[in-house]
Point group: C2
Chain length 112, copies 2
Amino acid sequence: MSIASDLIRGHTDTIILACLMGGDNYGYEINKSIQQKTGGRYELKEATLYTAFRRLEQAGYISSYWGDEQTGARRRYYSITDSGQGAYRTLIAEWQNAKNMIEQLIQLEENE
Amino acid sequence: MSIASDLIRGHTDTIILACLMGGDNYGYEINKSIQQKTGGRYELKEATLYTAFRRLEQAGYISSYWGDEQTGARRRYYSITDSGQGAYRTLIAEWQNAKNMIEQLIQLEENE
DNA sequence: TACTATACTTCGCCTGTCAAGGTATATTAT
DNA sequence: ATAATATACCTTGACAGGCGAAGTATAGTA
């Protein structure tokens, strides 16, 4: 069973930034690590992933460079910027906020 | 401060269904109750609200009828169906799922 | 008489997701 | 040799939900 993408929407950027907080990485590997973290229950679709990279780089939250692999397919590595680290912290705070709000709104109240 | 709409996307239906689990209600009042529950920090935009009603009714999760107000503006009341109650429970379960997954993905791990 | 609150509706734009298709290299199986 | 698979990246076009903006109608208040 997969997860509705509308529930993840808006978290893609945060997920990627969180990943890059742990160090530079490239797209394919980032997605692999996401699959691993969730025990295969979730993965970003390639189109979604690379669209997000463009968006984040455009916003100045990440920067990229080509790896110098001597063998195998080329890799484009991404690095989180200072600005991106700030954005990450903001996004985390917003998530805490949103999470509480959603819980408040979708649960049935016993009292009242 | 408001909340990013992409963080709410996918929860609109659940929020409305949750509201109707407490009994029949009409659009304007539903939105008021949402504002109240969140201390004014959140409200559904009218277009979003009424679009959601159409969608939910289309799906058979809610049904509607006109109120018999003798005065003031007419009100269209909404009622959650059996099917809608099932959908609500499913959506709640999915939220629990998604919530855990997101937390796992966006937080920094101390260990490892 | 104008404004505000209540209450519902529709149109068209914007944005993020994703199916589908493409490119290229290296390894493994037939 | 050749086919298949894994790695790794990229783009296009369609789709769906959120929402700004505008409109309709009624009732109470300044």
